[in-house]
């Protein structure tokens, strides 16, 4: 199938609040091997100028990929979830995510195109605090492989 270009610019309602936990940051940091003290030790984080322990640079994906997936649940998009793979990922940090942040994710379709039988959809997720402070912009390019499509 070919994605409808009218989808570009479509935005979805903000997500429920995701509260960033200190233990979750420590768990994620351990899983990716990020050993810096600022991920674990609140005193070290404060000494480095942060209000609390900060998340490793790709932690935002924990919140944003699920938000981006609202696109896959949109019947007008009609992507076959079982054929979707992650093609590209980008993060623009406006400030580090820290424990205690209460984040809201708002997803927008930035681009759609078809290449070699694959449908490519770019979803941008703006992570802000509940109060509207910009925290991180994540951009995920999702690839729905067509029959015989090559992306992996």
């Amino acid at each position: 199938m070919v994605l409808d270009r009218e989808l570009v610019g479509r935005s979805y309602p903000p997500s429920a609040v995701y509260e960033v936990g200190r233990a979750k940051i420590a768990e994620f940091a351990a899983a990716v091997g990020a050993t810096d003290a600022v991920h674990r030790d609140p005193d070290a984080a404060r000494a480095a100028g942060h209000p609390h322990v900060i998340a490793p640079p790709t932690f935002a994906i924990v919140v944003s990929l699920e938000a981006a997936f609202v696109v896959l649940g949109d019947p007008e998009v009609g992507l076959d979830y079982s054929r979707v793979v992650h093609g590209e990922q980008k993060f623009a940090h406006h400030r580090p995510i820290h424990a205690g942040d209460r984040l809201v994710a708002t997803t927008t379709i930035d681009a759609v195109r078809s290449v070699a039988g694959n449908d490519l959809l770019t979803a941008r997720v703006e992570l802000t605090t509940e109060g509207g402070e910009a925290v991180c912009t994540t951009v995920s390019m999702l690839v729905a492989r067509g029959e015989g499509g090559g992306a992996a």
């Binding site: 979750k24 768990e27 994620f28 351990a30 899983a31 990716v32 091997g33 990020a34 810096d36 600022v38 991920h39 480095a48 942060h50 900060i54 490793p56 640079p57 790709t58 994906i61 924990v62 990929l65 699920e66 793979v85 992650h86 093609g87 590209e88 990922q89 980008k90 993060f91 623009a92 940090h93 580090p96 951009v139 992996a152």
Partner: protein, 140 residues
């Protein structure tokens, strides 16, 4: 030793960073990230969708490559922009050795206000697994 703005020019190379990735690492990342796609832990499912076997989460490889940058700058908060394209999967065999991922980086541009762009080359088994991998970092 960490990077300081005074010493960094276009072409400055980051120390090579090598990480071994095992199945246990993938299980741990699945739990921490919430991405339980079975292609990252089940050979049966991975091969049924045409993969050679279980593959690492692309986001796991991206996170590992970021460590090459933050180890160089000494400041995880300094990685302000970061992007990759997931080119080839990192196939992780079910053994104690796992797969080896090698991250090389080079300063591609010196930007304003103490920021630099680092261009990364990330390989596993001699093949490039991430492409267009770039980080913008704030040096202290």
């Amino acid at each position: 030793m960490t990077a300081s703005p005074a010493d960094v020019v276009v072409g400055t190379e980051l120390p090579e960073f090598v990480v071994r990735v095992t199945r246990a690492d993938l299980v741990r990342y699945a739990g921490a990230s919430g991405d339980f796609n079975p292609i990252h832990w089940s050979d049966r499912v991975a091969t049924s969708v045409g993969l050679p076997g279980v593959i690492a989460h692309g986001m796991f490889t991206m996170a590992v490559a970021a460590r090459a940058v933050t180890a160089w700058t000494g400041d995880p908060a300094g990685l302000v922009e970061y992007q990759v394209r997931f080119g080839r999967p990192v196939v992780v065999p079910d053994d104690d050795e796992g797969a080896e991922v090698t991250v090389r980086g080079k300063v591609g541009a010196v930007l304003e206000n103490g920021r630099v762009r680092v261009d990364l080359t990330v390989t596993s088994g001699g093949e490039k697994v991430l492409s267009l991998a770039r980080a913008t970092v704030q040096l202290r």
